[in-house]
């Protein structure tokens, strides 16, 4: 077979990386290339340089170093027993590609992952080598996200953290039994052990920087992880519970959810239908509720239906409100911030605006309408000077009144 061109390799290795959900480039330390020899900057806010027709942000060059793999995880397109085309980049090729894309302002940086070749340590060393060349030889100051391999030695993983803005280890599946079944070569305890080590490295580095100004940074954008939704029998309640334990135990910046999607050359132990994409969306919404709205995991679990899953037709916040109608209506002119955040249809920004504005005027329904996206959604749950939803919250058909009307997807008009 003739040697593959860079273009062919890129096609294979980007294709192989697309099942990773994360492409974030935000929340890292500020840096720029003034006074340096190279290029690159990160200014806090992530930048999406393009959007693919799947609606996902393209912020980083997200590729695998290689999709050869000695592991045989059933949900993974690159598993050993799969028949996909294989390719392998050298570290230098990845470096050149990253810099060429970065100079043209296509990307914020690199997100590098890899199949396991030879063994975990060898693979991890190759990944770290890419980051080293970028940082040390090219003084690259853009964003680098490295996927670390839980089975690799802690010392090499630590190296990765010194070069990268963010490191991540995928927990892959929300339950241990799912992992045993679908990823027979992986071990839940080893994965969590590796996450624990990264966490202590993060804490240590932060502590050192408090005392020594020039102490090296360690993954300033923290660590994240990803769970595949819908490949095993875990319910949303299981997933939310797992996510909140991960947030608590490992101080994760983000838990990403990736709806299991049909992959070429899949294995037969996988489920038969792909989960609705909306399920992933509902999980992200619940993630938001826990991170920004003061919901506890138990609150989110209360919003699930009898089968342990969040309703698909309405968002989890509305689901919670419909279950706890006695908590409403809430008086927007008096209620606390925490109470306002529980009102379906009021976001963090709207609540902030209400709190600021009500110091100046007693809010009427029209005023609230100006501050929110949709007053129809909010109205049944609030009181204003001139509005009280009398019987609305008691109506049995409230859910159907508020659930979004199902729409036919608009055909693409080019």
């Amino acid at each position: 077979m003739a040697a593959q061109t860079i273009l062919q390799k890129l096609e294979i290795l980007a294709d192989a990386a697309k099942y990773d959900a994360s492409c974030a480039s935000s929340g890292t330390a500020k840096k720029n290339s003034l006074g340096g020899k190279g290029i690159g900057s990160t200014e806090g806010m992530g930048i999406c340089h393009a959007y693919a027709p799947d609606g996902r942000c393209i912020s980083l060059l997200k590729i695998l170093l290689t999709n050869h793999c000695v592991f045989d995880c059933h949900y993974c397109v690159n598993r050993k027993s799969s028949n996909v085309a294989r390719a392998r980049f050298s570290p230098q090729e990845v470096v050149d590609l990253t810099l060429a894309f970065y100079r043209r302002n296509y990307i914020e940086g690199l997100f590098l992952s890899s199949g396991i070749v030879k063994n975990s340590n060898h693979t991890m060393e190759q990944i770290v080598e890419v980051a080293r060349i970028l940082r040390e030889e090219h003084d690259f100051r853009g964003y680098i996200h490295l996927k670390t391999i839980p089975e690799a030695d802690a010392e090499i993983v630590h190296q990765a953290g010194l070069y990268a803005d963010r490191v991540s280890i995928n927990v892959e599946l929300p339950t241990d039994s799912g992992l045993t079944r679908l990823a027979p070569d992986k071990d839940a305890r080893q994965i969590e052990g590796a996450m624990g080590k990264v966490k202590s490295d993060l804490v240590e580095a932060k502590d050192a920087r408090k005392r020594f100004r020039h102490a090296p940074r360690f993954a300033p954008a923290g660590q994240s992880t990803q769970m595949i939704v819908g490949a095993d029998a875990a319910t949303d309640a299981d997933i939310v519970g797992k996510a909140s334990r991960l947030y608590d135990n490992f101080r994760l910046r983000r838990v990403y959810y990736s709806a299991f999607s049909p992959i070429p050359d899949a294995s037969a132990v996988l489920p038969l239908k792909r989960p609705p994409l909306i399920r992933e969306h509902r999980l992200y919404q619940s993630d938001w509720l826990m991170r920004f709205y003061g919901y506890k995991p138990s609150d989110v679990m209360q919003a699930t239906e009898a089968d342990g899953n969040l309703p698909l037709d309405i968002d989890p916040k509305l689901a919670w409100a419909l279950k706890f109608r006695e908590a409403f209506p809430i008086d927007v002119n008096r209620a606390s911030k925490e109470q306002l955040l529980r009102v379906p249809g009021l976001g963090v920004k709207a609540v902030g605006k209400i709190l600021a504005s009500r110091r100046h005027r007693a809010l009427r329904l029209d005023d609230v309408a100006l501050l929110t996206q949709s007053i129809t959604k909010v109205r049944p749950f609030i009181c204003t000077v001139d509005w009280r939803p009398v019987t609305l919250t008691d109506r049995a058909d409230l859910r159907s009144l508020l659930a979004p009307k199902s729409e036919q997807l608009e055909l693409f008009a080019a």
Binding site: R56, L182, A268
Partner: protein
Amino acid sequence: MTALQHVKLGTYYVVHLPEPDDFDFWRERARALVQSDVPPDRIAWVEPGGSGDLFAHGERRMPVPPMDAKPVRANRRFVSLARNAILHSDPERFALLYRLLWRLQSSPRMMEDKADSDVRRVEELDKNVRRDSHKMHAFVRFRLVESEDEEVGEHYVAWFEPEHHILRANAGFFMRRFSNMRWSILTPRGSLHWDGETMSEGPPAERHDAPGGDPMEDLWRTYYASIFNPARLKIGAMLKEMPKKYWKNMPEASLIPELVAGAQGREAKMVEKGALEFEERPDTLAAIDKAIHACRKCPIGSLDNHAVMGEGPQDAALMIVGEQPGDQEDQIGRPFVGPAGQLLDAHLEKTGIDRRAAYVTNAVKHFKYVQRGKRRLHQNPGAKEIDTCRWWIESERAIVKPKLVLAMGASAARGMLGKTVSISKVRGSPIPLEDGSELWVTAHPSYLLRLEGSAREEQARLFDADLAAVKTRLEELA
């Protein structure tokens, strides 16, 4: 009112701004006008290229504020909003900002009132400008111009069409990011040039002043097409963040229509290629029997052979799993009836396990072979074939619910565990399965058939020992 001495009653002031984004100029004029007590409706603000002629009769000289004029008050929130909002292309922005400044003098905390229409409008302008700047950071695409002159080196040039007057305000971002690169950003409102040390501004440019392509764009388009997952088309989400107006200057955007059009076909192909779409699990053994005969999910099913269903009581406590049917099993249609089956029967009898009480089946349902003359030679199933067939063995297990599964050989073990294990390492002790039952692994009887002499004796002994352990365990579980 002292101001009346300085302002001619009814005078209409016209302020010409030197640049559309000159905040400092606006601030200085606005301050003087407020101090001179000129109400908002007596001022016209005219930007370059604006319709200044309408106000030909207005007073162009600025009023002089009285000596005792109060300092103009504006909180930090207003200043930061105004600095950004002034970059907006709305010609009314200067008047809006002045009106706000004017009102702030009597109600200093007005900016907090988010329901006020002026406050809302200025926040909207600010938001639009911030979005436009953000999109500029994101969507500017540089193209490389290689110079003949060695000294000049590489020069990266971009053509961008911002909606608002944001070019100058964003020079810093590109300078900090590409500080060691020579670059230019050309726009219809002006241009920026950075040579690695200094920033200079140039006149408005046109599209053809910028290069028409870059060899790297092929790679970028390849990346864009490959990273897109056709199984999750969400056009609305894409359009919301990357509206069509930006597409014309983004090399990758030309691919979007074909990617979208091809998406459903590609997804269907992915599924078909993986032969993933199994139906619901069959819930009776008879249904499985019927389904496996039609199964063509791996190449073995397409050979000239017949599926062989497991046999035994539906409530058996023991399930024995072999590799795949052999030549005789394929012809007769029952598992373990050939030479290996006879050897198995002998060993089971010796150990005291009743084969009729066990459910006997195979990890792979069809016979895999190669034709050699008249003979069909057995071939080991591949890992992928075993994995594909796990669907059926798992369906059988879900119905029979054995307490103990005995997997004979590496293929059977893989069929149960999903990974390849070494028999010598795992034999002799139970492996817990997800449903609470346990798995024991031993060699396949056909392995014994291939050995001779002392090696065969040794393996037969180990095989018997495994069977004996299974028997003991079964009695414990009963």
